[in-house]
Amino acid sequence: MLQVKGISKVYSNDKKAVDGLNLDIKEGEIFGFIGPNGAGKTTTLKMITGIIAPTEGEILLGGHSIKTDAVEAKKNFTFVPDHPEIYDAIKGIDYLNFMSDMYDVNKEDRKMRIEKYTKAFQIDDALTQPVNSYSHGMRQKLLICGALIPNPSIFILDEPHVGLDPHSNKILKDLMKEHCANGGTVLFSSHVLEVVENLCDRVAIIHKGKLIALGTPEEIKQERSISLEDIFLEMTKDE
């Protein structure tokens, strides 16, 4: 479903933010992407979603290259960034309708999904209010709703649990599971190791732009016979 083939990102100061990363994320999988601050998680997600271009390597989404066949590749996913910055002078409902239009969601599905997700996240009463009157958490929920409405093949989220209350976190986790149960794929980055351990089918640990571990949480733990948290701390400590 999502293939990342040897991507690297070198910024103008010659710093390699991502170094030869390879990933193959399968359909129906919840894939966790973890690493310390500045490890290259957000850069990788930005390259996958076409926000920035990789210096080298190739990314395929549903078999389409994000570089050479961007529109078709982008039809396969929706993205929730770590900072909920969107059009903020418009009303919440305007944003959700905009996302529906962008991904060609018909009127019936749109109504049904908007009601379903906004009720689940308890923002249905705020939809007629301008987005700039929303709290950080409410904006985050609006973005998640906007990303779920198109029912994408791949649901990509950057640090989705930051800023969400426990209730909303639970809802999000359930929706991720439901999405995968229906054949969708979820890729998210996180610092919350407990969530990653309990939710993900597979996990990738990235440090200084390089992939240092990949597998199911159990596989990674079995190799070392310690908890994922200890593994993470051990692997990502500076030499």
Binding site: I51, I52, V71, F79, D88, M102
Partner: protein, 535 residues
């Protein structure tokens, strides 16, 4: 097409909503009415166009109004389009979101252009539309000309807008790879001023040469040829409205050509510039090693440094502050280039009795035009909470805001005083009195303006222009200035024989009283308002 429509619609909706929200109007009715505020700016334009029409109609060539106004409208639209292109293509919060959407590059470019077009169409309607109105209605209804004129209005923004896009985006690409994007705001705006000055010079030189004007007027196509020589589309459009179908074809083809050119270059423009800017934002996380300083400073100095730093480190705030403070110098530059004024003008004996007033006005311009305290809380935006949680007293918090405005404004006044005192026939006492006036005016308005900002804080802005320009506080701050100005005028009229020194001295005393009253209000009644301010 649906996606282009949806993408355009949301951007226009966001733009219009932001405009009314950023004016910080609490009343919904007022916020709707305030949208028409810019129309007032165009009332003088209506008068000018009327004058132009009457003049050209008098020599039997009313269609020249179209040529003349079209050239002016095109230049103004081009100039207006530059900051709009920069703002919508590079400073918009939607860049990351749009980059992930399943839409083609040209759809993104065209949706953004469409949002800009709507804004510029309003400008074309008010400027060129007025001339079409005069031409089509003033001496009896000319229906075909009016319809062709409407087509002309619709097409007027296309060429300058796309031209601005094709110039600005590659320039931003060049800048984006080297320095941070903020540089562009300053470079771009300075460029605009140079262009405006250049145009002023170009037009005034033609106007100031009556002999050559006479020659142009003597032939029927004279002025059209004059303008058209440098800008043929103005000729095509004028002739189009006067029912020349061949010129209509030329004009439409020209606009279509620009649209096609934009479509052909859209992919390159998007990848070259917008993606590059997204990348630059991502790069911000990389740690840069530099010299670490552990020097300590007083809380007051730090707070003042913080308030001044907010201006200095934000190119929009800095440019706005510098531009408004140095308005007199800028005006003098324009007038000098236009040949309306020279340094010798001020040496004229006729000027001598007024020299002290002019000098006082020039060096007081920073505080009179700057209104820095009206936005000293607003400029902090979402970081305002920081001073709330710091272990500083409310009085210190308020005082440092006044002091930061005072330092910036009075500092600029001193620079202006040093730069201009030698131009005027003034004695030492005159100069000292003028500086004393600037000092008292700065103290008075730095404090008085803070009351406006405490009463009307606006912290939830999404772009810096909204905080310092579209904010109604700035307009409100001109009311007390107007009131003080009236007092000064009455004083001047009541005491015609006492001389400038005495009037300036008395006026300074009035300003000191104004300062004391404002100070008492800020640290009395408005102190509580500041404490209870919602953030």
């Amino acid at each position: 097409m649906n996606k282009l429509y949806a993408l355009t619609k949301i951007q226009i909706k966001d733009f219009m909503s932001k405009y009314s929200q950023q004016l910080n109007m609490k009343s919904k009715l007022l916020s709707k009415l305030i949208i028409i505020l810019p129309l007032l700016i165009f009332l003088p334009a209506y008068e000018i166009i009327k004058q132009v029409y009457v003049s050209f109609a008098a020599i039997g060539m009313p269609e020249l109004t179209l040529t003349y106004v079209y050239v002016a409208a095109t230049i103004l639209i081009f100039i207006t389009a530059i900051p709009l292109v920069i703002s919508l293509f590079f400073y918009s919060k939607d860049l990351s979101l749009i980059a992930t959407l399943p839409v083609k590059e040209d759809t993104i470019i065209f949706s953004k252009i469409a949002a800009i077009y709507v804004y510029l169409l309003g400008m074309a309607l008010l400027l060129f539309g007025t001339s079409v109105g005069f031409y089509g209605l003033y001496d009896g209804l000319k229906p075909v000309e009016l319809l062709l004129g409407i087509l002309g209005i619709v097409l007027t923004p296309v060429m300058p807008m796309i031209f601005a896009t094709l110039v600005v985006i590659p320039f931003m690409t060049f800048i984006g790879g080297r320095k941070n994007r903020n540089l562009m705001v300053i470079v771009g705006n300075v460029l605009l001023i140079v262009i405006i000055l250049g145009i002023q010079v170009l037009f005034t030189r033609v106007q100031m040469d009556p002999a050559s004007l006479q020659n142009y007027f003597s032939s029927s196509d004279g002025i059209i040829a004059l303008v058209g020589h440098k800008f043929p589309p103005s000729v095509w459009l004028t002739k189009m409205i006067t029912k020349s179908w061949l010129d209509m074809l030329y004009y439409i083809l020209l606009n279509l050509g620009f649209i096609v050119l934009l479509k052909l270059t859209a992919k390159h423009l998007y990848k070259g510039a917008m993606l590059k800017y997204n990348q630059q934002t991502s790069q911000g996380n990389i740690n840069k090693k530099g010299k670490v300083s552990y020097k300590s400073s007083s809380k007051r100095a730090l707070l003042i440094k913080r308030h001044l730093g907010i201006i200095v480190h934000n190119p929009t705030f800095l440019l706005n502050t510098v531009m408004t403070m140095f308005v007199p110098i800028l005006l003098f530059g324009i007038y000098s280039l236009m040949g309306l004024m020279t340094l010798d003008t001020f040496k004229d004996p006729m000027f001598k009795p007024y020299a002290i007033y002019i000098f006082t006005g020039i060096i007081s311009a920073p505080v009179l035009m700057g209104s820095l305290s009206t936005t000293v809380i607003t400029r902090e935006g979402k970081t305002f909470w920081e001073t709330r949680v710091l272990p500083i007293s409310i009085n210190e918090n308020l005082l440092t805001r006044i002091l930061s405005t005072f330092i910036a404004s009075f500092g600029a006044s001193l620079i202006l005083a040093i730069a201009t005192f030698w131009i005027f026939p003034l004695g030492l006492i005159d100069i000292l009195l003028s500086i004393a006036f600037a000092l008292t005016a700065t103290l008075c308005f730095s404090t008085l303006d803070l009351i406006i900002n405490i009463a009307r804080p606006f912290l939830n802005w999404s772009n810096p222009t909204a905080a310092v320009k579209n904010n109604l506080n700035v307009m409100i701050s001109f009311l007390p200035r107007l009131a003080f100005g009236l007092v000064g005028f009455v004083l001047f009229k009541l005491l015609p024989s006492v001389g400038g020194q005495f009037v300036i001295a008395v006026f300074s005393v009035i300003l000191i009283i104004g300062f004391i009253a404002s100070y008492a209000l800020v640290f009395g009644r408005y102190r509580m308002k500041f404490i209870n301010m919602d953030i």
